[in-house]
Symmetry: C2
DNA sequence: TTCGTATTGAAATTAACATTCAATTTCAAT
DNA sequence: ATTGAAATTGAATGTTAATTTCAATACGAA
């Protein structure tokens, strides 16, 4: 396991909030970090179960919320209606393939800037945003063309 | 009632698809068109009920789907998780106030263009997108500041 | 008017998330 | 090491909004 930084980060958060350090939380953090990309709590649950067969879904669910609060994870919900978690990082937006489910991240300063201009125009104070492009990835576009 | 164009449009769609022209469908279309903005099927249901007390929620729900298929309405789901319907029109995006629920529409050719460039970069074929800015509207920002 | 099909609407089901609560675990103070 | 208050766990249950079922009813072509 090479997630020392994150483990430490979690421990610190737990201490600061008078929460307890449990093996379940460690196991779930590890499983989450090992998985790459945008993973659902169901998926994390089954990964965790490989090593820890009696960790319940509820605990995974609650721990993922905890990791979000601790700043280690962040929650995303695309149009399929299922919540996914990704490792917390710089802000970015997503391309979502409607055929294979592939998720590509992108960022664009230009768009961010334009957003602020629009918000100003309406005297609107933006707290967060969601910008998702849905369609077909390269591979799927080819398949569909056939 | 001044929704002749839309009534006609619906009738045409129904005929073309061997569907039936019912008073419920007419009533629901009328209620939907009279309401302004982004309305939920619950809300449409209670509007319709004012005049037609025994139209059920299910019918409203199904009819809104139908109106979407017919190109008269379109469906939106913001982060509150409730589906809303708006009158079908030119593409646009939204500012959503997290405090009072106000929804402001905007469009921006600049952003649309930049989107296409990003998609190209990833060889991605965009079919639709979602771009929502969440925050506080003018009035709510003031309230919050107090 | 009749008849086959579509529609209706109450009720049941689904899907995903969220909460409850009794049993268990943690950890600071003995 | 033991204790005990407080936090955590996890199975079961609740919630919310969307969706489907199905028996009864309405539409509209013949």
């Amino acid at each position: 396991m090479s997630h020392e930084v994150e483990q430490r980060s979690l421990s610190q958060y737990l201490e600061e909030h008078n929460l307890k350090h449990t093996k379940q939380r460690e196991a779930i953090l590890a499983a989450f970090l090992e998985a790459t990309g945008h993973i659902t709590s169901e998926e994390i649950h089954s990964c965790v179960r490989a090593d820890h067969p009696n960790i319940g879904y509820t605990t995974v669910y609650r721990t993922m919320k905890l990791l979000c609060d601790a700043g280690l994870a962040s929650e995303r919900r695309f149009d399929d209606g299922v919540t996914r978690y990704e490792i917390e990082q710089e802000h970015h937006d997503h391309l979502v393939c409607l055929r294979c489910g592939k998720i590509i991240e992108f960022e664009c300063a230009m768009i961010e800037k334009t957003q602020m201009e629009i918000a100003d125009r309406y005297q609107f104070r933006v707290l967060r945003h969601r910008h998702e492009l849905y369609g077909h990835c390269d591979a799927c576009a080819e398949e569909v063309a056939k």
